[in-house]
């Protein structure tokens, strides 16, 4: 089993997610510089949070054109698991590995806080540690997490069960108040058609340690560890 974290200029959650991965998998992931054009044999690729290229122009746009992304796309096509967190999610949409786009938060403000998420799809390799419908607590920290997709795409996402997480209140209701960024349909994370690529705005690596306030995020890394170790 091997995991890798892709590091772009401006990534800043690369270390955080590496710590969480190592904790759950017992082995440190490979850290891959964006300028590389080849990847070692891998089971999981993580595109971490941060501000790749300063988030200038559009979040994730420049990173999506890095040499390494060609290779990430090729691996994703072959079924390797790819997890994009926050900026990583933005990179995946810009690279068109996931549909839709992440726009400026409706409040126009950066928002950093714990939010409640409802696990809408508990069947993927990423989410099978959760129960379907379970409400978990995971922090967000972003200025551009306002998910947008056109009507047709949205219908498909919903119809195919590809919405992984929704922002909800403590009772599991997807209300406007529970939506930190204006995302359409309170969408916090989505899967690709084959279910091997997940993009999500919240940061599971930030609640993977009781000392930091919770472990709901760790469940995801532990589930991934089981899949890739199997």
């Amino acid at each position: 089993m091997k995991a890798a974290v892709i590091v772009f200029p401006g990534s800043n959650c690369d270390r955080d997610v590496a710590v969480a991965l190592e904790q759950s998998m017992g082995r440190a992931p490979a850290m891959i510089w964006h300028g590389e054009s080849e990847l070692p044999k891998l089971d999981l690729i993580v595109i971490p949070g941060g501000f790749s290229y300063g988030d200038y122009l559009r979040c994730g746009a420049m990173a999506a054109h890095s040499p390494i992304m060609r290779e990430v796309k090729a691996r994703a096509a072959k079924g390797t698991l790819v997890l994009g967190i926050c900026n990583g999610f933005q990179v995946l949409t810009e690279a068109q590995l996931l549909p839709g786009a992440l726009m400026r938060n409706a409040s126009l403000k950066f928002v950093c806080k714990d939010v409640q998420l409802k696990v809408e799809n508990a069947k993927s390799s990423f989410t099978r540690g959760y129960k379907a419908g379970q409400v978990v607590q995971i922090p967000v920290a972003h200025g551009d997490g306002n998910y947008f997709a056109d009507g047709e795409t949205l219908r498909r996402l919903k119809g195919e069960g590809r919405v992984a997480f929704r922002y909800v209140d403590a009772n599991g209701k997807a209300t406007d108040d529970a939506n930190p960024n204006g995302s359409i349909d309170n969408i916090a994370g989505i899967l690709n058609e084959k279910g091997n690529v997940l993009g999500m705005m919240p940061h599971p690596e930030r609640l993977s340690d009781p000392l930091l306030g919770g472990t709901d995020g760790r469940t995801m890394f532990e589930a991934l560890a089981k899949v890739v170790l199997a």
């Binding site: 300063g54 920290a141 930091l212």
Partner: protein, 744 residues
């Protein structure tokens, strides 16, 4: 030599010197040192090196009075930041710095570049920045500019800190009309380094290369007055803004590149280019090492055409560093900076001449003796007029503002006491994965990466105390910082200060400055809490009206075992709430008096430093031994406000009662701001009361936690929901108006 220098000599007149901020006496000294008139570039260098900002000419004699040593101090004031030993072979490097004026002009960029500057001060010494804090002072909420400034400053601090990936974990925010024309933006960075790999700025080694890295130099921040002079009118373009724009992405790369380079054995000395950019960095590095320096300005990476020597030397472009490398190691460094796609240029070398020589287009454009320029930098013992001691206000003479719970509700929504969540939720306070105690409490705690120990940090100052009695106010600021660290269970180690004052040429202002320093000194000595770094910002005045004296204190301590620390939230029903420390009902200069009765009167609450230490050491002992996990110091607003904050933080109410025999009226007891007090909760209070008695710490059981309301015996009940709406509602509501929109 003088012949090649002659080119623009003729243009320097005493008037131009005055425009550069040099007094006639100072200009006379320039002429003496050089034995000739300076040219414009040289004049520019003198003017920045002798500016208040770089030379501390008004404050130095006073700053010398502050205690700066302790066994754990590795490096005190004088370097880019202060360094303390935090055990396990690690050092903590930290400093606070103001960016007041630029933030008033352009709040977003001013605040953003303030954060960038203080980050560089810390990583330039070899530390990885692990946390940022920010202390903010704005004008009255109803002043027409305030909302726009709050919005821009907060967005700027977040925009920069979030992007570089350093968590912003705490701060301090308040409003007062005295800041209407002069807001304060004091940014602090805390970093961690290996104690045996600290980098300093003193240059050494004749012939060693002088290396420039980071962003290119543009005409950023070059002073407007000089831009208007004939020499620079050549392009006759619209008045060029002197605002500097921050590039946090480049800063992030610079941090990573510098830390990577520091792991190699190639750096002799390193210094960020802060205010006065290339001038102060090259000058100070050479001066500290007793060296000369020769720089070829043609080698400096520039981003604009036809930049003059004057502009290159005085530019305040951001995200740049200067280093002296070991001979022959340029390629190691170049490779690293190329990997991070940053500019890298060898721009000169160290010499043994003791002079700063600048070449441009093959000509010598400046030739200055370093030691005389540094040694005869002006230092003033400015006349000062001590602030007259105010008479104490007898609490019995202050009428009540109304029913206690009504007063509480109003105070919880008062601008200074209302929750600052709207601010800190715009800051990424969790990135780096070590934020154990988030903003919103007394001090924030960041785990020292890879260990089970923590760094606690806070920023504090109560200017309304300082203006009434500078000495007591200075003392209180230090004591409150110490108390906030103690309240989470940390061992307070050292402070950084940011002295924000009005015009030092006025004796009353110098009196405030001197008084604050005296009080700070007393507190630092009594609490073993030395000053290791700091910054001075003077001339914070508009139309002759000065800001409240604001000696902002940033403080750092260690939590020895992250199994044992405390936070302010009530965690369980049915626990006894114990008040530690003495309550006399001091209402002078309290928020109650000011916000509810409209009176700015009396003396501030005195700080009894012996009691402060006794009470604090006692509380810390309880936390360290694991006996208590809920603790909050009693600060602005007094006892009832502190209890309400604890209840809201934990979502658990309380029932409390005042003792039968009160030393003062009830409202004074509830809202007085007596110092040195803490609230803790325990399941069984007997042991704690007994231990407190033995330690000589006044202790009193106020009541019990529980329910979802706050009940004060004989005065009624207020629900937590109502309190929360008041406390959390004010700032978001205030900021909802359209003039708060910042796009960027």
């Amino acid at each position: 030599m003088n012949s090649t220098l002659a080119r623009d000599t003729a243009t320097v007149t005493p008037e131009i010197a005055a425009e550069h901020g040099l007094s006639p006496a100072e200009y006379e000294r320039v002429l003496q040192i050089l034995g000739r008139a300076p040219n414009l570039t040289e004049l520019g260098i003198f003017s920045v090196m002798w500016s208040e900002h770089c030379s501390y000419k008004s404050s130095k004699v006073w700053l010398k009075k502050l205690p700066t040593t302790a066994p754990w101090v590795i490096c005190g004031p004088g370097e880019n930041a202060g360094v303390i030993d935090i055990g396990d072979g690690l050092a903590c490097i930290f400093k606070m710095e103001s960016h007041n004026h630029p933030s008033f002009i352009e709040p977003y960029q001013g605040a953003a570049t303030g954060v960038g500057g203080i980050l560089r001060d810390v990583f330039t010494m070899g530390a990885r920045p692990v946390a940022n804090l920010n202390a903010l002072r704005f004008g009255a909420p109803d002043h027409p500019r305030t909302r726009h400034l709050v919005a821009g400053v907060v967005a700027g601090i977040g925009g920069y800190g979030n992007c570089v990936g350093v968590p912003t974990v705490g701060g301090n925010t308040a409003f007062d009309p005295s800041y209407n024309g002069n807001i304060l933006v004091n940014a602090m960075t805390v970093g961690v380094a290996d104690a045996d790999r600290i980098f300093y700025s003193a240059a050494s080694g004749v012939g060693n290369p002088v290396v420039y890295v980071g962003s290119k130099t543009g005409r950023d921040g070059i002073h407007g007055a000089t831009m208007a002079s004939a020499e620079f009118d050549e392009q006759a373009e619209a008045k060029r803004p002197t605002v500097q724009v921050g590039d946090p992405f480049t800063e992030k790369l610079l941090i990573e590149a510098c830390l990577e380079l520091m792991a190699e054995d190639v750096i002799v000395a390193i210094q960020d280019m802060g205010a006065a950019g290339l001038t102060s960095s090259s000058f100070e590095m050479a001066s500290k090492g007793g060296m000369g320096v020769e720089v070829d300005l043609d080698k400096v990476p520039v981003r604009e055409r036809a930049m003059t020597a004057y502009e290159i030397m005085l530019s305040e472009s951001q995200e740049r560093m200067l280093m002296i490398l070991k001979p022959g190691r340029e390629n190691v460094a170049r490779r690293i900076f190329q990997k991070w796609e940053l500019d890298f240029a060898v721009i000169g070398k160290l010499t043994d001449t003791g002079r700063m020589v600048l070449k441009h287009h093959g000509e010598t454009v400046a030739d200055l003796p370093i030691a005389p320029l540094a040694d005869s930098a002006p230092q003033y013992e400015r006349p000062y007029l001590p602030t007259p001691k105010p008479a104490a206000l007898d609490p019995a003479s202050v009428k009540s503002a109304g029913a206690p719970l009504d007063s509480l509700k109003t105070l919880m929504a008062a601008p200074d006491l209302a929750s600052k969540r709207w601010i800190w939720e715009q800051y990424d306070h969790m990135v780096m994965g070590d934020t154990v105690v988030r903003p919103g409490g007394d001090a924030s705690i960041v785990r020292i990466h890879g260990t089970e120990r923590g760094l606690a940090m806070t920023a504090d100052c109560t200017p309304r105390y300082c203006v009434a009695d500078p000495s007591e106010g200075g003392k209180q600021a230090v004591a409150e910082a110490w108390r906030n660290l103690t309240a989470v269970g940390a061992r307070p180690l050292a402070i950084t200060d940011n002295m924000n004052f009005g015009n030092p040429e006025k004796p009353e202002i110098m009196g405030q400055f001197a008084g604050c320093i005296e009080g700070m000194r007393d507190a630092c000595l009594a609490l073993d809490f030395p000053v290791v770094s700091g910054n001075v910002s003077l001339y914070n005045e508009t139309s002759g009206k000065a800001i409240l004296p604001t000696p902002m204190i940033g403080a750092v301590g260690t939590v020895e075992d992250l199994d044992n620390f405390a936070t302010a939230d009530f965690r369980r029903d049915g626990e006894s709430i114990v008040l530690l420390g003495e309550t006399k009902g001091h209402l002078g200069r309290s928020v109650y008096l000011r916000d509810l009765l409209g009176r700015d009167e009396g003396a501030p609450p005195p700080v009894d430093l012996a009691a402060e230490r006794r009470n604090g050491d006692f509380v810390r002992g309880l936390i360290e031994s694991g006996d208590i996990v809920t603790c909050h110091d009693v600060a602005d607003g007094g006892l009832l406000v502190a209890i309400a904050e604890m209840a809201l933080a934990g979502g658990i109410g309380a029932e409390i009662a005042a003792p039968d025999a009160l030393p003062c009226p009830l409202h004074a007891w509830l809202f007085g701001e007596d110092q040195g007090r803490y609230l803790v909760t325990v399941r069984n209070p007997e042991t704690v009361l007994q231990q407190a008695r033995e330690a000589g710490v006044p202790a009193f059981v106020l009541g019990r936690t529980g329910g979802d309301a706050l009940t004060l015996a004989g005065a009624g009940t207020i629900s937590l929901g109502e309190l929360r709406q008041a406390h959390e509602g004010w700032l978001p509501r205030y900021m909802a108006a359209p003039d708060a929109l910042t796009q960027v």
